[in-house]
Subunit: 192 residues, 2 copies
Amino acid sequence: MNYILFKSEQNQETIVQEAIPKGPAGEGVVDGSQAGQTALMPWDMPRYRNWIAVAKVHALVEKAMAAGLAPLALKLPHYDILANVYRFPGLTQQDLANRMLVGRSNLSMLLPELERRGLVKRTPDGEDRRVRRLTLTSEGRVLTLRALKVQVEVIEGMMAALSAAECEALGDFMRRVGHHMLGHPPAPDSPI
Amino acid sequence: MNYILFKSEQNQETIVQEAIPKGPAGEGVVDGSQAGQTALMPWDMPRYRNWIAVAKVHALVEKAMAAGLAPLALKLPHYDILANVYRFPGLTQQDLANRMLVGRSNLSMLLPELERRGLVKRTPDGEDRRVRRLTLTSEGRVLTLRALKVQVEVIEGMMAALSAAECEALGDFMRRVGHHMLGHPPAPDSPI
DNA sequence: AATATATAGTTCATCATTGAACATAATGAT
DNA sequence: ATCATTATGTTCAATGATGAACTATATATT
């Protein structure tokens, strides 16, 4: 059975036929590069590999952030909340969920812990009784600044491999991609 | 209490003093941009913003992947395993964990489910009785190809916002950053 | 040969995240 | 005024991921 796997950059369809197993005593070990009519697999394609590189760096940064935040007794999701609330005091839980690209229920699980630790306050909105608005306590702000310092160090350490022009190009590319994926033109104060 | 938050690109230290709360009736709403001696916050810095853009795109791609894989009854972590085992048949669980940048215990939780579904086989190594080697079944390979098609569509859709040169530059940047973070020069068959 | 150290994979408890379902409130249509 | 629809946040069950502790095995040291 053949699949049309993808079109190459030259708009040429690549068809992959299920590879025939080979290997010692027919043990099922398969050489993926021996597939069908064209040997091209996604990892042979530049765009795919470029995205895998992005994904790997993202995983490395998350690990570095987790390690850097551990001495502050702060997990990455909690820090994300604190940083966003520091930057946009008074935002709603729905707004925060949109910015963090997580579900509302996740925040309903995470926020009580930050409240309990005395870092965040949730207050009812003056007009809409469904809404709660988020602000940091003074202790929350202090901790957030310390955690921001950690994040800046991770990002600066990472970006040291790039020139300023390269770093700016990276940001331009990613913002453009982000807006493209969201399907609308860039807006002020967009989460991207 | 002041913090040295970070050094700017001109190597100038930025000091942030805790912002003074303001807002209606002293309700604790804080304007982060009114901090201390210099108003620069991380989100005012290009490198920080550039990384946030990368992180946002990564989150969007993960959502798109999850949505695209749902009709195949496949979750993203399971797909990651299948794709890596397809590409490197016979690899060990330890090797797979390294490539996926997750812990060995995570794979011990995920792999039995793929085994139960008849997608993956775990076989003892011929020489080292601690080791199990991973291969896909024929059904696993078929499903993996279908899932690869989904991933390629997501990546192609994303990269449509970039020219070929921009996409290649992006990959170059990220590979360099990845190697920089791992602290060693690029190697053949590196996870980055 | 005996012992110490390192490695591969598993189990465990804990936490983050998801998506469905729910309760309450606001808005829009009639 | 009433009803339908949408929005906000919470609860629930299920699942993915982590890091410590464990078992079994391999390797290095003495």
